[in-house]
């Protein structure tokens, strides 16, 4: 059977599974729609969180990025896992105890203010929309390469599937489809990784294979360092960014992870405080399986690519080379006309352009793996993109129906009506996300990485202070969030889009002006510190929060049941 037929079969089977689960788990009340009724087991929530978290970026792009960044790619590995330690130790248990539906809910009630809630809604929508557009785009790319439909049809098919289970099932439907999607995506990522690790090092465990020796008895990393230097790149295990920047980006991604509404809200769905802690641990364990294999895949893929391509005659390239050439993600321009592919860090000599994304998608083909493995990767990429998109759409729809309509504009609507509004806003959100997936404003990819900075600069300090500092008042928190997210937006617009200095073309030359040498990706860390500082300063000069709010804080510090007994 060909790769294409395998892909159709596997993708169709997984989609049928997701739809089946959606019909089985329809939501009947707003509590089911927002937090799956609050009775999800820690393991199911751990799996759902892992799928929710691992997006098209983790599945498709991350290993490829690391493959070209070497040590510098560590920022994603540490940043996107370390945030869970913060979540488990500082946020999840207390937010679960607080027992509301959304992040703006917490901010609004803890800071006894509609303004605070509205600021939080604005931040949640900004973060989630930028993030979701990238996911829909990922769905389109996978469809177009593996099923040979154009990107637009791919996005529309993806939209219909997500619509189906997000609108019907709300959080309940999303949770159980995410459990299935986790299984699909981890299987799809690990099977080729294990195959390739075994092929290259004789050890089937990629995490160990990465530090192992190739057939020639040389350590893979040593060999890759040597080849990289030969071709003019930085040594793979050294990297080229400044320490300060690596530090800041890692911190921004960690704190951003802990502040992302679609991740936080998953911890509202478990029964007890104890379950919230445990499911954060399980989620990270399940995520770590992919995150420790990804750097290994990066090393294998880079070595394979250099081996197969560098200095070889173009005429003898295997079939995958031309397949990917037609998608425009791989390009060869024979500058010196010798028919050989020159691959080099020197732009004058280099004849090969490689899009980072194909390193995972093409990896099984490059390594000559069976057709069904290649098809599996397509299904895995779709599972990763759809599960994250669904989680984000739920945040968007609940921000609108619960935090705007129910809490601000029309407090007297019934549960049934609110459910209708929630479903309608989910439809609206899918359509908007789909539109951006089909017509990506040039900056989507850039903004997805910055969504973390925005979350770090806005939510994280407000939530932490809300839990750990009883006397934190609304004036401080609101000012902190506004200044934090404003500063982050400013830095992003200035240094990522160059809008104050003549547009995109000026961006490259602006990097010498970065504050403290920190790139826009890492600036969320600075904006977060500014947020904390402003919050605490304003707080010192304004009135303490009311007594009953301070009592709420006391209550959330104590795990369920027993806590209620003390009051």
């Amino acid at each position: 059977m060909t790769v294409q037929i395998w892909t159709y079969i596997i993708v169709a089977l997984t989609f049928a599974l997701y739809i089946g689960i959606a019909i089985w788990s329809r939501a009947g009340s707003t509590k089911e729609f927002y937090v799956a009724g609050g009775g999800v087991s820690p393991l199911a929530n751990g799996m759902a969180t892992a799928a929710d978290w691992m997006s098209a970026a983790s599945f498709i792009s991350m290993a490829g990025l690391i493959s070209f960044m070497g040590y510098d790619g560590s920022v994603y590995l540490m940043g996107w896992t370390g945030g869970y330690v913060l979540l488990a130790l500082l946020l999840a248990p207390y937010l679960r105890k607080f027992g509301k539906f959304t992040v703006p809910d917490f901010i609004g009630e803890r800071y006894y203010s509609k303004t605070a809630r509205l600021v939080a809604v604005f931040c949640a929508l900004l973060v989630s929309f930028t993030y979701v557009a990238g996911q829909m785009r990922g769905v389109g790319v996978v469809f177009s390469r593996f099923l040979e439909v154009d990107i637009t049809s791919g996005v529309i098919i993806g939209m219909i599937i997500v619509l189906f289970y997000a609108v019907l099932g709300g959080m309940k439907g999303i949770t159980y489809t995410q459990v299935a999607q986790y299984c699909v995506l981890i299987f799809a990522f690990m099977v080729p990784a294990i195959f390739i690790s075994f092929q290259m090092t004789g050890n089937p465990i990629p995490q160990i294979g990465m530090g192992g020796k190739g057939a020639d008895g040389m350590y893979l990393l040593e060999k890759l360092n040597g080849l990289s230097t030969e071709l003019g790149f930085a040594e793979y295990t050294k990297g080229s960014r400044s320490k300060m920047d690596i530090f800041a980006i890692t911190a921004a991604l960690m704190v951003g992870t802990a502040g992302l509404p679609h991740v936080i809200v998953r911890f509202f769905t478990v029964k007890k405080v104890r379950d919230a802690r445990k499911s954060a641990g399980l989620a990270l364990l399940l995520i770590a399986i992919l995150y420790t294999a990804a750097p290994a895949v990066a090393v294998f893929a880079r070595l394979n690519l250099i081996h197969t391509v560098s200095g070889q005659p173009y005429a003898q390239m295997p079939a995958w080379f031309s397949n990917w050439e037609t998608t425009g993600l791989l390009g060869f321009n024979d500058k010196n006309g010798d028919g050989l592919i020159q691959y080099s860090a020197d732009a004058m000599i280099n004849e090969l352009t490689v899009d980072r994304d194909i390193m995972v998608l093409a990896n099984p083909e490059i390594a000559n793996l069976p057709a069904w493995v290649i098809a599996l990767v397509a299904a895995g990429g779709l599972a990763a993109a759809l599960s994250t998109a669904a989680g984000l759409l739920l945040v968007i729809s609940s921000s609108v129906s619960h935090d705007l309509v129910k809490s601000v504009f029309k407090p007297d609507i019934t549960d049934k009506q609110e459910l209708v509004v929630a479903r309608l806003s989910a439809v609206g959100a899918v359509v908007v996300a789909g539109y951006f997936g089909i017509n990506p404003p040039g900056f989507v990819a850039a903004v997805v990485a910055l969504a973390f900075g925005l979350a770090a600069a806005s939510f994280f300090p407000a939530i932490i202070l809300g839990i750990f500092y009883k006397k934190m008042n609304k004036e401080g928190a609101i000012a902190g969030m506004v200044v934090g997210i404003g500063l982050m937006l400013f830095y992003m617009l200035k240094f990522k889009f160059g809008i104050f200095d003549g547009g995109k073309t000026a961006v490259a030359s602006l990097s010498k002006d970065w504050w403290f040498g920190i790139s826009p990706e890492g600036f969320g860390f600075i904006a977060m510190i500014v947020n904390f500082t402003i919050s605490l300063t304003i707080n010192a000069f304004t009135a303490d929060p009311p007594e009953e709010v301070q009592e709420i804080v006391e209550t959330i510090r104590i795990p369920s049941g027993a806590g209620e007994a003390t009051h």
Binding site: I66, Y71, G73, S74, L77, M78, T81, G82, Y84, V85, A88, L89, L90, P93, Q207, I208, M210, G211, G212, K213, Y219, L220, L221, E222, T237, K243, I246, F247, T250, A251, K272, R274, R277, K278, A280, G281, L284, L285, A288, Y291, T292, P295, E554, R557, I558, P559, S560, G561, A562, G563, T566
Partner: protein, 86 residues
């Protein structure tokens, strides 16, 4: 012991655990994987330079372990202060 005393002591012990665990979290990632990375790279761990290993493998394993240690510690603490009933 009054109820609010009980709650205060519980919170204090919780904060102590969190501080200790977060210092480990900081050391294995920001220190071993970034600040001290070049120094640690003179040693190797199998085929890995040690600092590079912390940045791309070790820190992640330790993160997972830290959360499970916290879960255990807190479950014990909940019991000790009688907060384990639902």
């Amino acid at each position: 012991m009054s109820k609010s005393d009980n709650a205060k002591k519980y919170w204090k012990e919780n904060l102590r655990y969190v501080t200790i665990l977060l210092s480990i979290w900081f050391s294995v990632s920001f220190l071993a994987g970034v600040v001290l990375k070049d120094f640690l790279d003179q040693y190797s761990f199998g085929g890995f330079p040690l600092g590079f290993w912390f940045a791309q493998q070790g820190s992640i394993y330790i993160f997972v372990a830290l959360i499970f240690i916290y879960v255990r510690l807190m479950n014990k603490l909940d019991k000790k202060y009688n907060y384990d009933k639902d």
